[in-house]
């Protein structure tokens, strides 16, 4: 970032990226050649940094950080069929993973059963698991200690239904609900903004999310009912500062909605969790994580008047950047993932998922998956970076960048507020516009070689690239459908009808929907049937396409 004598370098003439313009981070901030005391003259170490484990948590959320509490090594444990996913989860745990993330297949994500005509060709797709009924949830979790190992369901629009299945299976296994650990991603706002797996309009979706918040607050005190996610915003194209600002604004919106529904802020805010991307720019990422904690803490205390210190703590999961991985010279991705993972650790994450190097061309193999996991273990146990807490605090550059991230965030907060808040900004196309612009700019920078991607626009080598989709077993779709057909045939049909009627009634009213969902999943009503019934009441969302 800086040169030998610490002066500004103009037009350093290497091929490809060159000149002053290349000294910018991914958010577009111009990076100076040298940082010094004058860059952090406004920083008050006591109030802006504090000690680790103390307000405003800039230096981390625990007093001793990784010396006593290593981050959770959380890898993806999903596969097409619930029983195969179960085997994979066991395998990952045996290799030393300490948490699991579970992705769903596209039909489940879109609230459709495997036998839905629109699910054709997509059952078990994208390395995700197909969940139609409680039967699938039983197989998925069989023998997994769900009161000890936290499972993060990468589930959004259908989270209330999956939570109902999860709770029902725990009850069958006589696990007290208050012991259940885990997370539902359940962040619906970013679906409209980026990932696009929505079906209901934003307001009924928000109601479902608030229902789960309030249900978990009462019955599942150790469970994270929501993981407010910037990762998808960044994958869709948002720059790191946009990712940070939009995610925090979404977080504040959930807090407002929780309060509006009658919950006290300290009753649910401690269980809100976050998920960010660890992207290519090393120090920018660290600054992003530190700024996230500080902004959250200050806003929770000052604006929402939280009294419980845990309400002010931003706990996060991080994942290295899938969108930074290349199909060309795929082994280079091992190094990308390593530096990104290191930045997440130096940024103070609580949980980390390292991507497998072959993800741009296939669903990870057992070998690449193991390498990704071992990368974390090497950082944790060999590199020595965990020996002291928050080693970068006080760095002129890191602190200046953290401040800059914070300042820029407030500009976005103001814009969103001026549009009438997050939901209204979604409806006005604000996010679609900004994210499309950022995604296009990024592509253009790569094509014009203003931004280097090693092995792609510089140091390119001719090679045969092949993509391998470890698609579900060829027979899996038929097998899944036939199992589902049997299940639908052999259940108490009258009970199914009653359950669906109940769901319709509760949807029309304002009571918490969770009890009706739990009763329904126990009676073998399927996910697709439940979502279908809710769509009748809530309607379906259609966005204006902006590109």
């Amino acid at each position: 970032m800086d040169n030998e004598n610490g002066t500004e370098t103009v037009g350093r003439g290497d091929k490809g990226s060159s000149g002053e313009d290349s000294f910018r981070n991914l958010s577009g901030f111009k990076i100076k050649a040298l940082y010094g005391p004058e860059d952090i003259s406004h920083l008050n170490p006591e109030t802006d940094l504090g000690l680790p484990g103390e307000y405003p948590f800039t230096r981390g959320i625990h007093k001793t950080m990784y010396r006593q509490r290593p981050w959770t090594i959380r890898q993806l444990g999903s596969l097409d069929s619930p029983s195969r996913a179960n085997e994979r989860i066991r395998h990952l745990l045996k290799m030393g993973a300490t948490g699991i993330s579970l992705c769903l297949d596209m039909p489940t994500i879109m609230g459709k059963d495997s036998d839905d005509p629109l699910a054709e060709g997509e059952v078990g797709s994208c390395g995700g698991v197909a969940i139609d009924s409680i039967e699938d949830m039983r197989h998925l979790l069989e023998g997994i200690p769900i009161d000890e190992v936290s499972i993060n369901f990468v589930s959004n629009s259908q989270s209330a239904v999956l939570l109902a299945m999860f709770v029902a299976v725990a009850a069958e296994r006589n696990i007290p609900l208050e012991k259940l650990t885990g997370t539902m991603q359940n962040d619906i706002l970013k679906e409209y903004q980026a990932q696009k797996s929505y079906y209901f309009p934003p307001r009924p979706s928000m109601r479902l999310t608030v229902n789960t918040l309030s249900f978990c607050n009462k019955f599942l005190p150790r469970f994270n009912p929501i993981s407010i996610s910037g990762y998808h915003l960044a994958s869709a194209g948002a720059t790191p500062v946009q990712e940070l600002a939009f995610t925090l604004a979404n977080g504040f919106t959930y807090v407002e909605e929780g309060i509006r529904s009658g919950l006290s802020v300290d009753s649910f805010a401690p269980r809100l969790s976050f998920f960010f991307k660890a992207h290519n720019d090393f120090f920018e990422n660290i600054a992003k994580f530190r700024a996230a904690r500080r902004i959250w803490a200050k806003t929770m205390r000052e604006r929402f008047e939280a009294k419980d210190r845990r309400s002010c703590i931003l706990r996060m999961h991080a994942q290295t950047s899938g969108s930074s991985l290349t199909a060309h010279q795929a082994e280079n991705n091992i190094i990308r993932v390593t530096t990104q993972a290191l930045s997440a650790v130096l940024g103070g994450t609580q949980s980390l998922h390292t991507n497998a190097f072959d993800e741009a061309v296939s669903i990870p193999t057992t070998g690449s998956e193991k390498l990704a996991l071992r990368t974390q273990q090497i950082i944790s146990k060999e590199s020595g970076v965990i020996n002291t807490i928050d080693p970068l605090a006080g760095s002129y550059y890191v602190e200046a960048l953290t401040n800059q991230m914070e300042t820029e965030c407030y500009k976005y907060f103001k814009e969103i507020e001026n549009l009438g808040g997050v939901i209204s900004a979604i409806e006005k196309g604000y996010y679609a516009r900004i994210i499309a612009d950022s995604a296009f700019n990024y592509q253009e920078e790569i094509e014009k070689r203003k931004r280097t991607v090693v092995g792609l626009n510089e140091f390119f080598e001719e090679e045969e690239i092949d993509i391998e989709l470890r698609a579900a077993d060829p027979g899996f779709e038929d097998e899944k459908i036939s199992g589902l057909t049997d299940l639908k045939k052999n259940r108490d049909q009258a009970l199914v009808k009653t359950c669906l009627n109940d769901i319709r009634e509760v949807s029309q009213g304002s009571d918490n929907i969770m009890p009706a969902l739990i009763k329904a999943v126990k009676s073998y009503v399927t996910l697709g049937e439940i979502i279908g019934e809710m769509k009748e009441v809530f309607g379906e969302y259609r966005e204006d396409y902006i590109y």
Partner: protein, 133 residues
């Protein structure tokens, strides 16, 4: 296509997947290159896409598929186009599509498939070349 008319391209994302970063970048790149782009949006069925292509009188259909459903969806689109006597509409695609599937898709009548890492100019050049004939 008739002389002097701008190329009209329907861009769509069939299937259930909503990851639309790539499809939107391509749509904008084609628009910036002077083509008329109609973006049909997410979650389109093959029949909806074919109907839109005929209604909009397009020269080509560009499809983005990242979910692995290409072997189900592409053939349906080709066959619906044939049924409607619209096989002159060029179909091209992009996404995560293995090489072993390319041959089969091309033999069905898909013009070209652009996979990850493609420069948008490659797509523009391809359409310039192919739609001139």
């Amino acid at each position: 296509m008739s002389r002097g008319r701008k190329k009209r391209i329907l861009i769509a994302k069939p299937g259930l997947d909503g990851h639309d970063r790539g499809v939107k970048v391509v749509a904008r790149a084609l628009r910036n290159a002077g083509m008329e782009v109609i973006y049909a949006g997410l979650h389109q069925t093959p029949l909806q896409i074919v109907n839109a292509a005929i209604d909009e009188d397009v020269d080509a259909i560009g499809l983005s598929i990242l979910s692995g459903a290409h072997n189900t969806i592409f053939p349906k689109i080709i066959s619906f186009l044939k049924d409607r006597g619209a096989s002159d509409i060029l179909v091209f695609g992009g996404g995560t599509i293995p090489k072993k599937d390319l041959k089969n898709l091309k033999s069905l009548g898909i013009g070209e498939i652009f996979t990850t890492g493609t420069d948008t100019h490659e797509i523009i050049d391809y359409l310039d070349r192919t739609l001139k004939r």
